[in-house]
């Protein structure tokens, strides 16, 4: 596993934000490494553990708890649709299905907790809980970009932006 020099320099800087306990840098390091590799492998976890002078289990228990960390790659473009009440009332479930249809993602399902991928690996989608924009539902995130009041008709053009 290669960690580029530039990334490791940034990682070392982030660790200094936690002068009392290096262990506090677990979440930031995992975010940075997931951003770089696309997911968190066992090797990555071992690397973080060594970096922070911890046991690999300390990292594994964090990765398995927090919904944003994943142990396998998502699609090139990852879509998160809000499932919670105000968005659901505004059509969140319908939005999820429309994304699946246009991104050619099979196995439509209504529940969160699983990442669904298109066969070509271009897109992946998951339901997430409240994204804190309940007054402008339904909302979604595509990679790190946030979109509100998304209508069914806008889905194809939105996906096109990330092709």
């Amino acid at each position: 596993m290669e960690i580029p020099y530039e990334l490791e320099t940034r990682i070392d800087e982030v660790i200094t934000h936690y002068p009392v306990s290096k262990r506090s840098a677990t979440l930031p390091l995992l975010h940075m490494l997931q951003e770089y590799f696309g997911y968190i492998s066992e090797e990555t976890m071992a690397w973080v553990a060594e970096k922070l002078e911890l046991e690999p289990i300390n990292i594994l228990e964090v990765v398995t708890f927090y919904p944003m960390f994943r142990q396998e790659p998502a699609g090139e473009t990852h879509i998160r649709v809000c499932r919670t009440l105000s968005c659901a009332m505004a059509g969140g479930y319908d939005l999820f299905k429309t994304f699946c249809k246009h991104a050619q993602i099979e196995n439509e399902q209504d529940e969160h907790g699983h990442i669904l991928k298109s066969a070509d690996g271009k897109y992946s989608i998951e339901f997430v809980e409240c994204l804190a924009s309940c007054g402008s539902g339904p909302v979604c995130m595509i990679n790190d970009d946030f979109y509100e009041r998304v209508t069914r008709e806008e889905v194809p053009q939105l996906l096109e932006r990330y092709r």
């Binding site: 934000h17 002068p19 009392v20 306990s21 262990r23 506090s24 840098a25 677990t26 979440l27 930031p28 995992l30 975010h31 922070l52 300390n58 228990e61 964090v62 708890f65 927090y66 919904p67 944003m68 960390f69 998160r80 499932r83 919670t84 009440l85 105000s86 659901a88 009332m89 529940e111 969160h112 907790g113 997430v128 809980e129 409240c130 994204l131 804190a132 924009s133 309940c134 007054g135 402008s136 539902g137 995130m141 790190d144 946030f146 979109y147 509100e148 009041r149 998304v150 209508t151 806008e154 939105l158």
Partner: protein
Amino acid sequence: MVSIVRTPHPREKRVIFKNIDRPGWTNDMDCYLNDGGYEELKRALQMKPEEIVNEVKASGLRGRGGAGFSCGLKWSFIKPGDTKPTYLICNADESEPGTFKDRYIIHQDPHQLIEGMIISCFAVNARLAYIYIRGEFPEGAKILERALAEAKAHGFLGKNILMSGFDLEIYVHRGAGAYICGEETGLIESLEGKRPYPRIKPPYFPAVLGLYMSPTIVNNVETLCNIKHIVRIGGAEYAKTGKPNNTGTRILCVSGDIQKPGYYEFEVGSITMGELINDICGGLKPGRKLKAVIPGGSSAKVLRAGERYKLKVKQADSTLIENEIGLEDIPMDFDSLTAVGSMAGSGGVIVMDDSRDMVWVLNNINKFYAHESCGQCTPCREGSLWMKKVTDRMMLGSGIEKDTDTLKAIADNIAGRTICAFGEACSWPTQSFVEKFRDEFVATVAKDSNGSYTH
């Protein structure tokens, strides 16, 4: 993807949200300084820390995160002269369904928050502070990091701030999608790099045994923003806004079945539920009738339209009389919403009209809590999932007659039996929906047994 920007309603009093959607406003340092930014910090650094704590106490400010605890009292739990360092954490893990206020402060007015934090750190003598921002706000985290760098470049952060001898560093720390991190002791565990399992109180009150087992203050974004305004006008003057014991302004986030959903800031208690829904938010959709309102985030107990609520009102001669009022006459303040059996919580108001199936609504809420329970305490871990499974089967048309009572029994056996308030947060929706809309739950199950109920 239409972007809707509304000019503030004439009945609003914009203090914390003064700069949100303000024409010409940008979130950088220059704009903030041109508007008189960081003047309150300069003033605060001339004061003694305990004077600031006293002003905050006098202001009557109550926490805006959900529990409504007195901010000044929380701060005064920090004992001067403790040998351990004190930490301050800004809780920017905004994730209570129905709540969307901190998002706008972070994106559009980060310096207001940072100035409030620096003053607060000075008041409680914290030299290291963190902003714990939810993982799903990646842009917000970048904006805050840029704003912190600007503040440092201007000498408002770092060593010897404005020659006062006070040192402070603030760092942004991103969460990773777990609702329980909004619970202050869970947040602290998360910031320590662990699973966010909340700690039991006592003994782990953050003000005594918080981050790294040191005294720690955890305050919500909106609460910390209020601090600079208290320093500006003084605690006594601040306490004149709002109502006694419910001072200041409050941001209400309104969503659901209304014409103009969005965020609105009012003096606490200056409007009623009906005025909020009908006058401010443009009423319900055409031809619809009000059915129910969740007044303070999805954990708050639901209120049913058409029901009568008892509210004690203080008379001029300070005697109390009990009034019977309808849902629409309930004043939107902490004490009134508690008195009618719910709570002001995080300010997230979710409105439901008569097109909504209450079993569907509760099922949606139950899915949230079943997913977000941290799993530490058995009643919550198992119970939240059972409640979801029971409403799941009701939705699928396979409910059985005793399901309505089963739901209530499960909820009653979670609340009060867990380490943190998530136990209450997940059972209050079930308890209240089943109690207030029992007829609908019973009817759903009755249809199921006839085999005629389809979804």
